[in-house]
């Protein structure tokens, strides 16, 4: 149905989103966004609720028609194509499994619509159910399935007709933590095996980092950073990204003569600020900070007062109040070595290696 072009392969298609805008009255859900997704890529749209990530996914699926802009699958402009002609698989947040059909009925539905022969349908349904490890459950009714099983059926149904593009709208959000982490790996493996271009929507930054080739962080209808998981975590380009991705506290610094200063002391930086205009912030991630007991060579030092200890099993967090009402946290792995944590109320000294420093601007110019 969809033409195979030079760039795309038989199993996947690139997606091109160009200058797409969608407004609801005075609310702008998507503000002139553009994104190129490579064939076979696993990209995650990451953002808080109301950021526009789901709207963009619905635009790709064809359920929402943008006010302006263009969407291409491969060479084909699909902007005006109705959803049932787009040939993309989709996993819904609530799975949207048809309760009046069995598991096999649900998974076979897109094949029946495509006029596939009965025997072939049974065959392909069985294969894809085996792929998602539900080989035995074809005759079950939907209401007899657990949450994880439903998730797998939804996935099976979305891929059984071998779409070259797969859309997933927070598919794991209804699962408990352990199952969710297991499914993250499974979905990742499945993608590696099948290779279709996958657009994954989530508000869980951890999930985005775990699964994606690239992460596109979106907020208020705009992309704030698009890059590899390592990029967006290690090299956030704005205060919003630094705060949204991973745990971090920001400390305002002043720039003087190309050097950053904290409370009039120059800081040792790994690199100069990438976006030097405006107020700069030093990103303090708990796992990068060290609790100082004596020697402090090569470290930027921060002095404050221990406030609270939070025990988290595999690690312990110590919250520290710095001057000027700034709060930071430091994570101590649960090992027997290392200094004992100071009691709340006692003065502490924290060190940040120059290699672990990052400066972000308050707001990045678009």
């Amino acid at each position: 149905m969809t033409a195979v072009n030079g760039k795309g392969s038989a199993i996947s298609l690139p997606i091109s989103i160009r200058n797409v805008t969608k407004t609801y009255g005075t609310f702008t859900a998507l503000d002139n966004v553009s994104l190129e997704i490579a064939s076979g890529e696993f990209i995650t749209l990451l953002g808080p609720s109301g950021s526009g990530k789901t709207t963009l996914l619905m635009v790709l699926a064809g359920f929402i028609r943008p006010a302006s802009g263009e969407v291409r699958f491969g060479d084909r402009d699909v902007s005006l194509l109705p959803p049932h002609k787009r040939d993309v698989g989709m996993v819904f947040q609530n799975y949207a499994l048809f309760p009046h059909m069995t598991v096999a009925g649900n998974v076979g539905y897109p094949l029946r619509l495509r006029g596939v022969a009965k025997s072939e349908i049974a065959d392909r349904v069985q294969k894809v159910l085996a792929l998602v490890q539900l080989g035995e459950l074809g005759t079950r009714n939907i209401d007899q399935l657990s949450g994880g099983q439903r998730q797998r059926v939804a996935l099976a149904r979305a891929i059984v007709f071998e779409p070259r593009i797969l859309l997933m709208d927070e598919p794991l959000s209804a699962l408990d933590k352990k199952l969710r982490e297991q499914m993250q790996i499974e979905v990742r493996h499945l993608h590696q095996r099948l290779g279709m271009t996958t657009v994954y929507v989530t508000h869980d930054q951890r999930e985005a980092l775990t699964m994606s080739d690239r992460v596109a962080v979106i907020d208020k209808g705009r992309f704030h950073q698009i890059g590899s998981p390592r990029d967006v975590y290690e090299r956030p380009e704005s205060r919003f990204i630094a705060e949204f991705i991973g745990e971090s506290h920001l400390v305002a610094v002043s720039m003087r003569g190309g050097t950053a200063h904290y409370r009039d002391r120059p800081l040792q930086l790994a690199e100069p600020p990438r976006h030097p205009s405006g107020q700069q912030f030093l990103v303090m991630r708990p796992e990068k900070l060290k609790l100082l007991t004596g020697g402090e060579d090569g470290l930027n030092v921060f002095e404050g007062t221990a406030r609270e200890i939070v025990y988290q099993g595999e690690s312990t967090l110590l919250y520290v109040d710095l001057p000027d009402d700034v709060e930071v946290a430091i994570r101590q792995p649960a090992t027997s070595v290392g200094p004992a944590l100071p009691a709340p109320g006692t003065p502490v000294r924290l060190g940040l290696p120059a290699g672990d420093t990052m400066l972000v601007p308050a707001e990045r110019a678009p």
Partner: protein, 306 residues
Amino acid sequence: MTTTSLADEVGRRDHAAWKAPNEAAYRRRERSETTVLAALAVPGLLLIGAIALTPIAWLFWLSFRSGSDFTFEHYERLLHPTYTLTLQTTFELSFLVTAICIALGYPLAYLISQVRPRLAGFLLLLVLFPVWTSLLVRCYAWLVLLQRRGVVNSWLQDMGLIDAPLRLMHNFTGTTIGMVHIMLPFMVLPLYATMRSINRDYMRAAANLGASPVKAFWGVFVPLSFPGLFAGIIIVFVLCLGFYVTPALLGGGRVMMWSMQIERNVTYHSDWGAASALGVVLLAMTLAILWGVGRLIGFDRIVGGR
């Protein structure tokens, strides 16, 4: 600091001094709670028994009595052609009215379920409006509209569409029109309730999987609306079986319903036994239909379980 002292405090407690409630005590408590709940239901059950079941039992008893003797004569009497013909009419009319109510009510309920909530509320109000009007008033209104010199025939004649007035009233047609009008809300309401609760993601999923709007409607939306449809069918059909006023007023006297035979037996013959037998047969047929449909699709689905 406080944590430590609390732990110490607990440690010092003399556990032997505690009297832990034993299993028997727990069971006793559970039993007493069950008893209280059951006791709460008693007045309701008594009321239902008094106002619903007693008359039915009395009806049943009467239908087998002649004077002080046990008899089947009231049931044998029902073999007379007048009753078999009436039974046939009753079912024909009920089927026809139910079918038309589906044909009219389904698109209507669908429309209401798809529009904005405020408009839906307004449309529902319009659907419900006739229910608040007296049955008799509505029947007479149809009489005025559909009779030989009524509004409809006058218009049609004035427009030159017909030469002689159509016979729209005082027959099966008129009865059907009047009953559909009365029954339609009972079809639309359960349908609407079910349709509104169908998550739109189902239709999106169907479209996404390649179903055209028409295929998605028939393959997904319609099956998902079945609980409401079945509820509507059962309500309308069962109500039709026992209908009296509309056929009596609009049927021109020739549309005989089962309920009219009951009335005739009571008023003309004052034959409570025969009337009771008729009532028992109607009740039995209704229960049989409910049972049959229940077996077919499951009661939980009719009541809207899923």
